[in-house]
Amino acid sequence: MKKTPERIEALAAEYVLGSLHGAARRRFERWMMESVRVRQEVWFWEEKLGHLGARIEEEQPPASVWAGIERRLWPQTGNAVSAEAANDASGRWFWPGWSMLATAAALVLAVVLVQQPEPEMDDRLSGAIVQADVSDPLWLVSESSLDRQLKLRPVAATAAQQGKDYELWIVPADGQPLSLGVIPVGGTYQVTLDDETRALLSNSRTLAISLEPVGGSPTGQPTGPILHVAKLYEL
């Protein structure tokens, strides 16, 4: 289906209203990833229809809701549960929800078509890690089955704040994320993927970047805020 202005206009409105379902909704989310114009149309409706939400009668959520938020965000400071157990529990909750995060939150993903002549059969995954308020992608990602390398090339990425590092993760379709190491400042970051890791990535095609203490997560699982989630596409 072609992205005509009329279609973008009609579908964006239905997307925000929630009446766009199933495959049509997923196709439109793909359009959002591909085009600023589409995202702006969505934002128009989010802004307009958002006013409707402000007029609903308030109802205080039970205290357990806030307690649950704290438990999920800062499991290590919980009193009742041990840090490890809590982290485990939050991980189980958090990761399956990521596919949704990537579309509904402010985070916007882009598809970058890297044109490269391919003389041999080579399955390539490609994508970009972008931030809504930065016009260039932060990093460009490419992965090739031939040389088994995942490459992360910085474009608009800046160094992590003092005392922190960015850590790269594969987010599997289910289960715990797998670290691909700390991303060094400046220069292209390359990781060689073994068969198992590559299978995980080509299955979920989802990467994430979290903010960690210098040297990376001390626990082997993300401990800091998740800054970015990116979906890769097959070229």
Partner: protein, 185 residues
């Protein structure tokens, strides 16, 4: 419950602080808007446990993504409520897709004694969209408001408004486009 500019400024300040991982600001933000957010999710889902889960998920997302808010996405409150609304709709769809809970939403529709759309919501919606909803036909307006506030699918709308699905779809589509023309004037 009007959101003044100064309140939006307060919320903006809190969001900026949250993007710097200020937990105290995050808690204040929660105290300020969780009542409105929970009210919206509850209205949408008609299920307390689902609404509670949606509010939790939304705040976890707000914590992680506060730095990605920008003014093109609407006022800070709208942006946060939008996150909660999408999450609620997702959870509702997930539950509906499970075969065992297939009838739950039909009961919900059938149980609407005073009609599916409260008069208060109709009035509130009209006031918020600068009178533009008044320019729509009653059926267009109701199908849009039912989708927004109650998360009705085309099937549910068709049942609630006793009209064929095709008709309901066209009310929504035409209503939204008429609304846009009015809002852009």
């Amino acid at each position: 419950m009007v959101t003044s500019n100064s309140e939006q400024d307060d919320l903006m300040g809190l969001l900026i602080a949250v993007s710097r991982e200020d937990r105290l600001a995050f808690q204040r933000l929660y105290e300020k808007i969780s009542g409105r957010m929970f009210g919206l999710c509850l209205k949408l889902a008609s299920q307390r446990d689902l609404a509670e889960e949606a509010v939790q998920d939304a705040f976890v997302q707000i914590w992680h993504h506060a730095g990605e808010y920008h003014s093109e996405r609407g006022a800070p409150l709208s942006w946060m409520l939008t996150i909660a609304r999408y999450r609620t709709l997702d959870l509702m769809r997930n539950r509906k897709s499970r075969p065992t809970s297939g009838d739950a939403h039909l009961e919900r529709v059938a149980d609407e004694r005073d009609g599916p759309l409260d008069e208060s919501l109709r009035v509130a919606g009209t006031a918020e969209l600068r009178g533009c909803l008044d320019e729509l036909s009653e059926t267009q307006r109701d199908s849009i408001l039912l989708s927004y506030y109650r998360g009705f699918t085309h099937d549910e709308l068709s049942e609630a408004l006793s009209s064929p699905i095709g008709t309901v779809k066209s009310w929504i589509r035409r209503g939204l486009m008429a609304l846009k023309r009015c809002l852009e004037r």
